[in-house]
Symmetry: C2
Subunit: 345 residues, 2 copies
């Protein structure tokens, strides 16, 4: 006995019928006698028959697999997105093949190539920080290949983007800080070439404007890496050198927020009394740090699930991608914790 799985042919031979009959019997096609169906199914069960998805893919030119391209799995947000994708894909009978780019465009391109070789039915993409030219995507889109961009959206015409409402999340966060009486709010911004960073900065600016406050450009500081060390250094610097000391930080991400928190604490500032802090993404550790960190939570799971549902609808022609002209935005939620709550109501 070799390792090989039982095939339709094996069943056919054993039962002295043709492969076609077996195939049809297994699928309950009309026009096969109940007797035959019974025998086929029994034997299939007995031989532990398992359809060969590869053969099926070849025949149907469909692989029932979607490709997911993300920067890094270790980012909490992306791992929640993956869960959402997985969940929906799985329940609708699709497989997920995964590739991380590690923020490298080379990896992005070659992953796309291998996935295409594998006759993937569609893509879910969050492109790398290095990606500035989108030809490798537009080529595919022009052929009508299903792609959905999530979190990091593009300006490609006809592309479907799904993202969280970064603008509103930032707007809410900063408004909250203002309402808590903070006056000199620094924005620890993200890499400028990502749309999400720009949107968050826009939310910051508009919130200030909305409250009639002046925007000071030196209060907007880019943290390209986004690590806590980087931010700790930057904020320490700000807190010791700026003539008008900031009294709050709105960070583009939670790591940066934690860095700011560490800096403020080690300089002897009280949080939230003297300095308020709000982060972005609501990583797990937000509730674990001391004081607990207020943050804007992004619905990663929902985003993954929603995007996958759309992608599969497009793949299965239940949805015409042309119909989707607006980017889809999901609501964020500001979670107020102790790092920014100095007015106890």
């Amino acid at each position: 006995m070799k390792l090989g799985q039982a095939t339709i042919k094996d069943i056919a031979k054993e039962l002295n019928v043709s492969s076609s009959t077996v195939s049809r019997a297994l699928k309950d096609y009309p026009g096969i006698s109940d007797e035959t169906k019974r025998k086929v199914k029994e034997l299939a069960e007995k031989l532990n028959y398992r359809p060969n998805a590869i053969a099926l893919s070849l025949r149907k030119s469909r692989s029932y697999t979607i490709g997911v391209i993300i920067p890094e799995v270790v980012h909490f947000f992306f791992s929640t997105v993956i869960s959402g994708i997985e969940e929906v894909a799985y329940s609708r009978g699709y497989n997920v093949i995964l590739s991380q780019t590690n923020e490298k465009i080379g990896r992005e391109k070659s992953s796309i190539e291998t996935m295409l070789s594998n006759q993937i039915d569609g893509f879910m993409v969050s492109y790398s920080k290095e990606t500035e030219n989108f030809d490798h995507f537009t080529r595919l889109l022009d052929q009508g290949f299903p792609i959905i961009f999530f979190d990091r959206s593009t300006d490609i015409p006809n592309a479907i983007n799904i993202m969280v409402d970064d603008y509103k999340g930032a707007f809410d966060a900063v408004s909250h800080l203002i309402e808590q009486g903070y006056q000199k709010i620094v924005h620890l911004a993200g890499p400028k070439n990502l749309k999400i960073s720009k949107e968050r900065e826009r939310g910051y600016r508009d919130a200030l404007k909305n409250y009639g406050m002046e925007i000071q450009e030196e209060y907007i500081v880019e943290c390209p890496v986004g690590s806590d060390e980087e931010s700790k250094e930057i904020t320490t610097n700000l807190l010791t050198t700026l003539p008008e000391k900031p009294d709050a930080f709105f960070a583009n991400n939670d790591m940066a927020a934690v860095g700011a928190m560490a800096a403020a604490k080690s300089l002897g500032f009280k949080i939230p009394e003297q300095i308020g802090i709000v982060g972005f993404s609501n990583w797990q550790f937000c509730s674990m740090v001391d004081p607990s960190l207020s943050s804007v939570s992004q619905p990663g799971f929902r985003m993954g699930a929603r995007a996958t549902d759309m992608l599969l609808d497009i793949i299965e022609k239940k949805l015409d991608p042309q119909k989707i002209t607006e980017p889809i935005t999901l609501d964020t939620q500001l979670l107020i914790r102790n790092s920014s709550l100095r007015i106890k109501s």
Copy 2:
């Protein structure tokens, strides 16, 4: 023009040669004239030919894809393992298909089924907490199907296990606590059916023994869920009701450690002066909490990379699985931070 990719047949037709010739030309088989090779390659380039991996899989009964089964992506440790897996698989020309069980055995079994349908070449498995019967694995192993168990190891004979040295990690952690002068060390243990939990507990016990300390069974408390809330509740309880109050906690995982930290802090204990805490896994947040959390770091990336290398070696027959009789253990590293360091040297 339809969406379809160019195939070997297309090239063959255009050049008036046979598919065989094209196939061989593309692969630089000997016995094809340089002239033909040139023409074929040129046209392939021009048509943007991309081999159909599905057809190849069918032909070769090999999919160049490995299946990864893990409990949850959102666990930091697992996400680092995935990175390791991905890295190696990618560089050796394999795809990774991923499935999370969410700790459910049903999902585990059905994921395995679909992956097998997809003619996966091998499995990397970290089984679910619910898994107590391993028949669905032994069946495959008996057929000679390549499987490697990582992190959560099994007792299945002939199975290949790769894990971190949980015993030593725990031993080191507890020894460190003792050396710091802590006397009444509680172990917040993990689910009893996981070998990793047992090993960590064993390390705890042996460290105490090694220092001639008595083991008190009421100091070993199971935290089945492993969340910070659960542990906070449990430790609060311990700290308020036990006749002899514990002065240190060695937790089976970092979340539980953070829960203990929160409990101790809110009861007014000073860390590390009055209470010492050490966690396990070295999640990102360890350095971010206050005081920073000592923890045993597990080499997730290395584990993923190493395991994948072995799996692919087995798949490619470069390695005989029979030869591997001992489980492979990777060294852990105790990272001492402020939560357990009260003797400044």
